[in-house]
Symmetry: C2
Subunit: 234 residues, 2 copies
Amino acid sequence: MTEPGPIAGARRLLREQRFGTLATLTPDGAPFASLVGCATDSRGAPILLLSDLAVHTRNVKVDGRVSLLLDGSCDSASRLMGERLSVSGRLAPCSADEVRRRYLARHPDAAMLLDMADFRFYRLSVEHAHQVAGFGKIDQFAPDDLLVPTALADELDALAPSAIDHMHADHADAVCLMAGGDSDAVIVGIDADGMNLIQGHHPVRIMFAARLSSIEGLRESITEVVRQIRRNSG
Amino acid sequence: MTEPGPIAGARRLLREQRFGTLATLTPDGAPFASLVGCATDSRGAPILLLSDLAVHTRNVKVDGRVSLLLDGSCDSASRLMGERLSVSGRLAPCSADEVRRRYLARHPDAAMLLDMADFRFYRLSVEHAHQVAGFGKIDQFAPDDLLVPTALADELDALAPSAIDHMHADHADAVCLMAGGDSDAVIVGIDADGMNLIQGHHPVRIMFAARLSSIEGLRESITEVVRQIRRNSG
């Protein structure tokens, strides 16, 4: 029951990759490539935590246009055959609590950076995405293909705390199973594409078989994840 | 006897990384990030094999300014603590036999691409390099820091074929040792920073303890590599 097609691969890269290469513009308009940590907001837009002292941040303050490469082929023997996604748009500072919470869910170690005066969150306002999923397998996506509709993302954000409490209180065995058998693991976020867990100090991403089209699908999507894990390990 | 300091790390990234993220400029001057295969010419300048059909190639044909991120932290648990190098400059087509030979030494599988009409070699004329080697460990390098002087590179290119023949004829045991015990491995290139070997279909990079300052140092550098491997395995 895995969602077929290239858009599912693109959404997976967005949600699963914790690092990417950011292309920014130097003050004289030349490109500059650098490594950044990343996460996603509830809609799926990339969020970054950048230091004011870094070259890419100084670049972004002059011209916000960026492109972020998310590459899932890092450990592949044949990297150019692997899936990767170039997400292009504009980067702008953002300070919502949700962004902070979702970034820390994917980068627990970044908590110490938040106490430093020079680190700030930025959100990539996606304008276009370009995916290469192997030799000649090329797709273009518009923001509406890639991102969760705002209304659904907001509904899920409102529902998530009680859904997470319910999972911990009444389905601790399922949470443990999703974290590979670790009974100390906790769910720290739910979005339309899946769940963020923290296992010890390590982030774990669980993807739903397909993106939710409404909050009514949440229970069934979580149940299906657990069923699938039981099937694979049984 | 490892060469100390950040410049050694930068030269190592240049020579060892077989893939990088290329930042190019779209026709409207926005940045675009994409994955590319890479190798180095004998001086150490990055060489790429790009398809005319790819977005990055179309970008480069309009504006040759690029930045290439070489990231050695791909398999590190804490990627932002790892070493990476942003090499910026201009990309231009090149067709020297040496470039073809050196690219194939690092990407044996790319031989099939050379028969396709749309693949061409490009060389990055390095103008500037920016290295981050962990939290706050930042260095800038000029081309002369990073690259081998042209005269020395040319001398080594002229010497390499006979040096390689000599290694295969009289030091087959050492070549085997450098390839982890594979007696079918061959040396396919020598430069001032080390050697390129092919083991089966897999590229192997052997770095010298330090960059050669003259061709007279070649024998001692190779001997030291072999001595070091014997020491580590003995």
